[in-house]
Symmetry: C2
Subunit: 401 residues, 2 copies
Amino acid sequence: MYKFIERGSITSASGYKAAGIFCGVKRAKKDLALIFSELPCNAAGTFTLNKVQAAPILISKNIIKSNTKVRAIIVNSGNANACTGENGYLDALKIQENVAKFLSIQLNEVLVSSTGVIGQRLPVEKILNGIEEIVTNLSNDGGELAAEAIMTTDQFKKTFAVKVELSQGEVTIGGICKGSGMIMPNMATMLSFIATDAYLEKDQLQKILINSVNKTFNKISVDGDTSTNDMVILLSNGASNVIIKPQSADEEKFSLALTALCEEMAKAIVIDGEGATKLISVVVTNAKSIDDADLIAKSIANSPLVKTAINGSDANWGRIISAAGKSGADFNPSKAQIFFDSLPILCSNYTVVLNEEKAREILSNKEITITLDLMEGKYSTKWWTCDFSQEYIKINANYRT
Amino acid sequence: MYKFIERGSITSASGYKAAGIFCGVKRAKKDLALIFSELPCNAAGTFTLNKVQAAPILISKNIIKSNTKVRAIIVNSGNANACTGENGYLDALKIQENVAKFLSIQLNEVLVSSTGVIGQRLPVEKILNGIEEIVTNLSNDGGELAAEAIMTTDQFKKTFAVKVELSQGEVTIGGICKGSGMIMPNMATMLSFIATDAYLEKDQLQKILINSVNKTFNKISVDGDTSTNDMVILLSNGASNVIIKPQSADEEKFSLALTALCEEMAKAIVIDGEGATKLISVVVTNAKSIDDADLIAKSIANSPLVKTAINGSDANWGRIISAAGKSGADFNPSKAQIFFDSLPILCSNYTVVLNEEKAREILSNKEITITLDLMEGKYSTKWWTCDFSQEYIKINANYRT
């Protein structure tokens, strides 16, 4: 139904251009990205739930809330423009104005986004100087450069795209995103920009995006912290001439493809989590309710004790059941069963069937699935997290210096 | 009003004996502790809120709930007897029976407690063999040996005692406790045993204990995990012949002394947190409600990003305000002010007054107070946490091996 495109990115979708340059916010690496649609786009977005919201979040959220079309997204890395007050807000406005001017579009057709250190004024002149250059650099295959320019402590750039065959023809969804610390459900310093050449109504787009984000970006955790700057944006420009009708079979197909794309992006963020060496899928099955399943999976995914044990390939299943127990969810621990991949570790009534050697072998892999079967209800969920390494501490003890 | 006793411990209170021996649960270190009161005690207790509760928790909780007097507490370290099902429960019962037999007291006068690895059967024969020996070792100054025998990854033993002058005479409160991972509000693998020679009614004792625990042990965090085995027990045997009447001025004095004792014990647990190098007091002032103050302080105290920044003496105040923002508490971030000790870092309207050099000097100290003044209401709180170091990961990646 959908197919991933090799080396696909946000510019894999028709009618989108992008660019990424160095303008001087960081010391040497690319730090400014621009995404541009030739046609006006319907736009959907989800934003951080942190009470402290960066200036660009306030601006972009207002645009998504309103009914205006969107043409461009300008993103800088290296500085979050968060906790910068009135001045920070004016800085973000200046950037928005300049992008509009050089692209000859309206002010409120430009979304703005920032990521990096909190609480320092943006070197706004450097960014303003970069805008003229980046506009001339826009190209139909600039997605990878843009992906590079939004990175902070990310180790690799993250770009993905899928093609979906629909009744009226083929459409493409492409995206770029970045992590990699402060990753926790309900957004983190996580930026994700997604574009499709299909046409969807604005409300429809928002509904589909929220559904996909809830199943993917909102189910990952690196360190339990939530940033001031997170956003996921989905643009739809209709360049493919394929219109997706609300509640149609096509919409269902598109939604599945979008969720698959978001899942790959979310997993890439976890794999690239600060100091991460392993991708851990946390599956909770047969819970009494979906809320119970999510509470438990989230608690396991956030437990430093579980994450350090897996870092050391230590089959310390007691920490898994204990993390479930402190989640606040309703379940009977003595019924629970635990598996590492398909290897049973614990059966009901606390019957330990752990084979230490086989368990250590599985836990030494780069990708591990921990399954907690509650043996009670019929609700299941899946979260993603990474292990917790000494490298994480190293990175974060001296982030600003 | 109260005075700490140098090198005081649980046996500083009159009428209590204690002992600590090696019986073979651990490889070489002391692993069995016994506390005994010559007179029957009223007993109060608070227990882990984890849904997964170890066998000894189930047994001891029932005794505290009932109206029976308590005479003894038997504690082993090295194995938590948690997630061990029916067999684990029977193991704990056997231990309780043996202690009662050798002390010639009733079964339900014996509280049981365990700490250590989860999910492995207790080497119960070794403990049973140790009981006869430990009973003969009971002594009036055995508190320190008992404190040593309850340690797991603790680096130092924790014993404290205070004397309080009351209208009828002087009473003593003494305690021993242990940390040091899985420390989070509402109990952790945190055991604390406190004894007083004052006489208090059972209900009165429980009320006073809960009040002190809420202000101290429930406001510390090492890693946000909550254990299956936590308990705080307070015994009152009346050996001083001082009776504390409910709602009297004496009760107030006793309560303050108990809280001071618990605060020292709680801080000792944090200082000795796994891998900790610094004690961080998190003070939140002028919140709209006490719940808001606690939500914010807890979120800051639990944030790996704040804790790693302080490990690196990095004045990354943005992470503090961001941790406050994600807490769910109601406040206006732009009003907030931040201090490190008495040094202002951030004034209202995001006015940064940070002197990097002075801030780094303060953050390099062993004890640091972070104050977040919300400038809104009149409620304040104080939490304690430690920094997050590479050593924490080292300890926990290979705990069982």
